[in-house]
Symmetry: C2
Subunit: 319 residues, 2 copies
Amino acid sequence: MDKDFVIGIDIGGQTTKCGIVDARGTVLAQTVIRSDTHTDVRPYIAELAEALSRIIAEAGVEGRVRGIGVGAPNGNYYTGTIENAVNLVWGGINSIPFAKMLSEQMNGIPVSLTNDANAAAVGEMTYGAARGMKNFIMITLGTGVGSGIVINGEVVYGHDGFAGELGHTVAVRHNGRACNCGKTGCLETYASATGVARTAREWLEMSDEPSQLRSLDKITSKDVYEAAKDGDALAIKIFEFTGRILGEKFADFIEFSAPEAIVLFGGLARAKEFLTEPIQKAMDENVLPLWRGKVKLVYSQLKESDAAILGASALAWEL
Amino acid sequence: MDKDFVIGIDIGGQTTKCGIVDARGTVLAQTVIRSDTHTDVRPYIAELAEALSRIIAEAGVEGRVRGIGVGAPNGNYYTGTIENAVNLVWGGINSIPFAKMLSEQMNGIPVSLTNDANAAAVGEMTYGAARGMKNFIMITLGTGVGSGIVINGEVVYGHDGFAGELGHTVAVRHNGRACNCGKTGCLETYASATGVARTAREWLEMSDEPSQLRSLDKITSKDVYEAAKDGDALAIKIFEFTGRILGEKFADFIEFSAPEAIVLFGGLARAKEFLTEPIQKAMDENVLPLWRGKVKLVYSQLKESDAAILGASALAWEL
């Protein structure tokens, strides 16, 4: 029987999304389980395998699943392990042979594993905005800033499997913001959803400029976006600042790998009407003349609800 | 007859070095011609072809040359062209089909071309300090700062063939030094031979600190190196500053491609006894904990006089 289906699994701190996907990128069946019920990985994997068997039956593709792709925090492509993933209740230990364990539970179906941003890059290349591109950089603007770098049609994993941590390159060298990683000034302390909220809080405190954000108790990046759409000048300036920092760093990234495009994905990328212009301007001002105006800035074309599953599933086609 | 020899050509602004190389990296015969006698590329190539025929005869390898590798400023690997190379008297035009023209003059021997830093990376991987490495970044510290990035055993050329301009990533974001490229704050304005001389001049002017450099009319990086070896405190501090800037940027580069090593090459790399410690310290302070102390910092192992020829020749083995 032809094996023309794959499974995509996206493991987040709270929930795990999984789905059956065909070669066109249609999600035939999907389900969600909690990631945080078990503090040990074994019962979690047992529950996950059960959920997968259920959707395999639902989609009627028994015996026809070619492989399983997993996107997980701190997932290592080379070893199939999840390493020190402190955001997963069962993940904060040195090294879990996750791909091997899941494959065993699934009667030997091969399992490929990487981190979520790399999975998103493969998804975008297989089904989305980067179809046909051999060189691009995927930037995910969520709670943090993730990245997946594609060179010559292949995701860059580096010597140890952990390449592509562009969210932790330095955006502000002196007196930069403290980052969860222990460093200061990392790109993700400015250009993530939490970074935007942080900018809003700092700026509201620093100035007396009127803004509808002042009436809020706890500000999120979504609030800043809504305010910007209402024409709030401070909110618009926050996106200009965020876009400038992104564009400045993108220029450095372009000088590294000369991509055809930078592809933006994630919650914060929804604010594209306020981000695109400042990003493009800062990119062009900071990149070598030979690339000025030449590198495309594009946004993910994957349906947001399916994107995580599609990204992870795309890994499995390479198995 | 087996074709077990290659030719390496290193084109600089003043001189062009060429040599016959065997599979072990031995240079069997070599010669040098001027790069700047002709303002048109055709007579230059005719002279070059003549010189090559001479060393082919000298080494006795007629009919046994497999390919020719060329390292040239603004050389494009994909197209075999030299584009807007303002440092070459015949090179400042839009696009010269150099590889094709030279191959025609050499009876169809295939010619591969790239920029000098990429050629150096291939040379180091084939014959030098990066033998056996699949992921490393070559940094050439000369008049400027060049780079050749190797991922999965292959040089990164990017979408357009010009990837790897790490000397023009931004080291100092605000009030950075003006760079020849038109930008400000580029790494090469600080960490090249000319950058070191510039630091010396600036610091001598800014302070009254005694230094043997004060007695010199025109300061070069070599003067700073000699002074540091004599124990001159200011000169040593200049290398500490230079090393810190390099290390800070290397941390960003590591977060991009997770290399096994960073390989340093070029005139300024000779000052390794003053550079290694500050580079390593800044690298470790600025990189994510997962790479701390793990990425090697190594120096080129190619004999300096042969290095340029070997680097370019290594390209030809891939033909």
